[in-house]
């Protein structure tokens, strides 16, 4: 599976459009990293625990999107966009969406 956030891939053309696919996760942070975060709030600096957590959930969301694309018979997802929103204290939603397509070699089309 091929993922990209540009619309036109050099050397390839879109043979078939299969529509929008998306994947999302709502992730809560656990107590331990929350405690570390409140300490970091005094000293400042990067919250490595949160960075990793959000990265993991982003990968998870992407996997869900790819699963949907595979089910549609796509071999690529182009024009991928990410969106993150804090929906409640301690929880964040991560959304990934893009267009599922069938890519074929060769320009034009």
């Amino acid at each position: 599976m091929f993922v990209s956030n540009v619309e036109i891939i050099p050397g390839k053309h879109i043979a078939k459009h299969l529509g929008l696919v998306h994947g999302s996760t709502v992730q809560a942070k656990h107590i331990g990293s929350d405690f570390m975060a409140s300490i970091k709030n005094i000293f400042g600096g990067e919250l490595k625990g949160y960075t990793e957590l959000l990265e993991t959930s982003r990968t998870e969301a992407m996997e869900r999107m790819l699963k949907e694309a595979t089910a549609l018979g796509a071999n690529a997802v182009v024009n991928v966009r990410f969106s993150t929103s804090s929906i409640a204290a301690g929880a964040a939603e991560i959304l990934v969406y893009g267009s599922a397509v069938v890519l074929e070699d060769g320009a034009g089309g």
């Binding site: 942070k29 709030n41 949160y50």
Partner: protein, 158 residues
């Protein structure tokens, strides 16, 4: 003045002092690290244009993501609260956002380099506040993510 008074004041002043000292030190160190790594990744260019220009030899596109969650220190959030009363530019938050953004872009470029790419196209930046759960003391930190499509293109090889 009894001891109780100093104790109470201490609980207000101590986090401010710690925040001021460590926050400044942390920020200085972070900026130094950012500048050093930006110099290292100078040849890896990133563009926000949506299309890969026609006519250049490009292959092997990959989605690359870089992100960072960075917390503000207590002193800065105190300054920001004051700014909230009087209005004006919140310079204490400006530097926070700037370094988070540059950090995210650097991490994205680093991933592109690891993949052996030469240039990143269609770079998008996303910012989101991150709050901790529980308590009335909300965590003031922000997440910035940068993402784009890394490609191999000899034209851009530095």
């Amino acid at each position: 003045m009894d001891n109780q008074f100093f104790f109470d004041i201490g609980w207000i002043v101590l986090p401010l002092l710690l925040g001021f000292v460590f926050g400044q030190w942390n920020e200085k160190r972070h900026f130094a690290s950012i500048l050093r790594r930006e110099e290292e990744l100078r040849t890896m260019m990133a563009f926000s244009s949506r299309h890969i220009p026609k006519g250049i030899e490009a292959s092997d596109p990959h989605l690359v993501i870089g992100s960072a969650v960075i917390s503000v220190d207590y002193f800065k959030s105190f300054l920001a609260a004051l700014r909230g009363i009087f209005g004006g530019a919140m310079s204490s938050y400006e530097t926070l956002l700037e370094r988070s953004r540059r950090e995210a872009i650097l991490r994205m470029k680093q991933k592109a380099r690891e993949l052996g790419a030469d240039v990143v196209f269609n770079v998008r930046l996303e910012t989101c506040p991150v709050f901790a759960s529980g308590g009335n003391n909300t965590t003031r930190s922000i997440e910035v993510m940068a993402y784009g499509t890394a490609i191999k293109a000899p034209t851009f090889r530095g």
